[in-house]
């Protein structure tokens, strides 16, 4: 194992992983494949099992059931120090008795890599902290500690790098810089990154593939654009961006689309964009894909229309406004519209119709917990 610096990443495969803590199942039947050299983001709410998944891969926790492969090799029973994996810990875990530089050089020294200090200095340069090399971790700010943790893992060039919210403590500007830096390193060296984050923008921006995790399972996985364009479950549609959901029974089916009836409105979705074609289903659309007008537009086979509704609230966010519109019997619908003028085109209390293209609708496989009354 001596001093090989891997030239490129290895792929990671989790097969039927289950992890039980006393009285609690944190991971349930998790299947995951991360191709070599990919930037893979694991996105999910707090407590869904992201850190547990990383700990299983790092070997700090052993699965109750299932197998883990790195580069095709079964490493389920391998000790953490023998795995070609490094972790940027959510809690940083920088050694308090060592200087920043020694922290970064630690992994290199263990593997007897030549000239560890010079390499550690380079890594510190990369995270813009070379001027703090001689400090102890306790003398750094949270964001600085986080960057040291990043350098300490990156410097080893592991075939698989696990990042547990590695940028959470950084301000927006620094976070963007580090994101660019990370992405550049990943591309340049061809490492495999498994990146855990709460931040959906970060996940969509950086990752080749995003997996949305919920309650210890992967709900959906795919390229960021696909996930956003075609969420399959209520959870994904709400967790990755915002969605308006309408629930109703399927009333008619044509060659290409199906339609549901929602309080007298006919809402359609292309067949190939719907998970379910029968019974009660939920159809969703993104707030920025809809428009509103104060005159009722004509519904066509290519356009869904609902309304009229009343504008409850207008939220100014700079480039766009978020309009909250209450449609009787359908609930509240959100519409985003770019601020093309210096004033909002409508006011709170206005009566509007909402329309969007049928081909921008998506049909989900499950129903929202709190059904909109029909």
């Amino acid at each position: 194992m001596a001093k090989e610096f891997v030239a490129r990443g290895a792929d990671l495969e989790l097969k039927q992983i289950r992890k039980e803590f006393p009285g609690f199942t944190a991971i349930d039947n998790l299947d995951l494949h991360v191709p070599a050299g990919e930037f893979f983001a694991l996105l999910g709410p707090s407590g869904c099992g992201k850190t547990t998944t990383l700990r299983l891969v790092a070997g700090l926790e052993s699965p109750t059931k299932g197998k883990i492969f790195i580069g095709g090799k079964d490493i389920t029973a391998t000790k953490p120090h023998e795995r070609p994996v490094n972790t940027v810990f959510q809690s940083y875990a920088l050694f308090p008795h060592m200087t920043v530089l020694e922290n970064v050089a630690f992994g290199l020294r263990q593997r007897k890599v030549a000239d560890p200090l010079a390499k550690a200095k380079d890594a510190l340069n990369l995270v813009q902290l070379s001027h703090l090399a001689d400090r102890k971790p306790q003398q750094l700010s949270g964001g600085q500690q986080q960057r040291v943790a990043l350098a300490r893992a990156l410097v080893n060039r592991p075939s698989l790098l696990l990042l547990d919210e590695p940028l959470g403590a950084l301000d927006l500007k620094l976070r963007r810089e580090m994101q660019t830096e990370l992405k550049a390193i990943q591309m340049e060296v061809g490492l495999t990154f498994l990146h855990v984050t709460h931040d959906q923008e970060e996940a969509m921006d950086m990752a080749d593939t995003v997996a949305v995790m919920n309650l210890g399972r992967i709900e959906q996985m795919g390229a960021p654009e696909t996930l956003y364009d075609r969420p399959k479950t209520v959870f994904v549609s709400k967790f990755l961006g915002q969605s308006n959901l309408l629930v109703g029974d399927v009333t008619s089916t044509s060659a290409n689309s199906i339609s549901i009836d929602v309080a007298g409105n006919k809402i359609s979705v292309p067949k190939n964009r719907a998970e379910k074609h029968k019974g009660k289903i939920a159809i969703g659309f993104r707030p920025e894909k809809a428009t509103f007008s104060s005159k009722k537009p004509t519904a066509t086979s290519a356009k869904n229309v609902i309304g009229p509704g009343e504008v409850l609230d207008i939220r100014f966010t700079g480039v766009s406004n978020q309009y909250l519109i209450e449609v009787p019997q359908l609930g509240n619908i959100t519409v985003f519209a770019q601020n093309m003028t210096h004033f909002a085109p409508i006011e709170v209390g206005a009566k509007v119709w909402i329309s969007w293209d049928v081909e921008n609708s998506f049909g989900l496989s499950d129903l929202p917990a709190k059904n909109v009354k029909a």
């Binding site: 790092a58 120090h81 994996v85 972790t87 875990a93 920088l94 050694f95 008795h97 263990q110």
Partner: protein, 304 residues
């Protein structure tokens, strides 16, 4: 050092006693008075006695104040073997206590964390011997290893001891007794520092390719250094001055006498007060030097 960083930020301006400054002085006063009355005064008296000379006109055990530095040279030349033996025994017993206590403290403080009840039980067991006077316990060991005991006769039978050799009165027995009596003083500080050890550092170590033994040497050991330092100080210092274990009445014999025994016999039996005092001062001085070198070397001045 770490505290200095905080201190400077809100330290009151020097010279002008602020309200909190007065409170600090008021709170410190009893302690300072105590130190003055019960530490500095006797220390001064001890030093004065150590420099006295026999009264030329007086009888046996009568001394007059003088400034006889020669007393120190006398005790050093006379009792050098005892001095060396004291520190040798203290070193051996401290190292033994550390080697025995560390795994014990590690088990209680780290491995037993999921079972707080077990932790408490084991801690109680560590302290339990204190419920019986240590004189009695030491005498009990003397019984156990007495010349007539089955342990010693078995040792004779299997030939580990020559027929004329016994256990009580040997350096082994004294070091054993010292180790036994001071183990709790080593275990407790070790436990306190291991109990606070953040296991995430150990995980980070193994994630960075360190084998379990490397993690122990590079992470666990340095992080438990404060416990090791205070444990070794709490055992080494009292052991160097101990006179019970090595005394002929307990586990030792005349060939195992330590400084404590010499001081005791000089004071209480031959009434050579200046020599006894000079030895006491010497013992204190040597310990002071050893401890400060030790603490400096191990880089934990923060501790003192």
């Amino acid at each position: 050092m770490a505290f200095a960083a905080f201190g400077s930020a809100n330290a009151p301006a020097a010279g002008k006693p602020t309200r909190s400054g007065k409170v600090v002085i008021a709170l410190l006063a009893p302690g300072l008075a105590y130190l003055g009355a019960f530490f500095l005064t006797p220390l001064f008296a001890l030093i004065m006695v150590s420099l006295e000379v026999p009264d030329p006109n007086g009888g046996y055990a009568e001394y007059v104040p003088a400034f006889e530095i020669g007393n120190y040279f006398y005790v050093i030349s006379e009792y050098l073997p005892h001095i060396l033996r004291s520190f040798g025994y203290a070193l051996a017993a401290t190292v033994l206590a550390l080697v025995i206590s560390y795994p014990l403290a590690y088990f209680i403080g780290v491995k037993a964390r999921p079972w707080p009840l077990l932790q408490k039980l084991m801690l109680t067991l560590v302290i339990a011997p204190f419920f019986i006077s240590f004189l009695l316990r030491t005498l009990a060991w003397k019984q156990i290893f007495s010349n007539e005991s089955w342990i010693v006769s078995s040792l004779h039978d299997i030939g580990l001891l020559a027929p004329t050799q016994y256990v009580v009165g040997t350096p082994f027995m004294v070091i054993f007794g010292l180790t036994y009596n001071f183990i709790p003083f080593m275990t407790l500080p070790l436990y306190t520092s291991l109990e606070r050890l953040d296991l995430r550092y150990l995980e980070a170590g193994s994630d960075l390719y360190a084998s379990p033994s490397k993690v122990f040497r590079k992470v666990t050991l340095p992080l438990s250094m404060p416990g090791i330092i205070s444990g070794t100080l709490l055992t080494f210092i009292p052991i160097a001055g101990d006179y019970i274990n090595a005394s002929g009445d307990f586990l030792g014999s005349s060939s195992t006498s330590m400084i404590g025994n010499v001081i005791e016999s000089n004071y209480l039996q031959i009434n050579d007060y200046p020599s006894a005092s000079a030895l006491s001062v010497l013992l204190m001085g040597v310990i002071l030097v050893l401890v400060s070198v030790y603490v400096k070397k191990s880089g934990t001045e923060d501790l003192l």
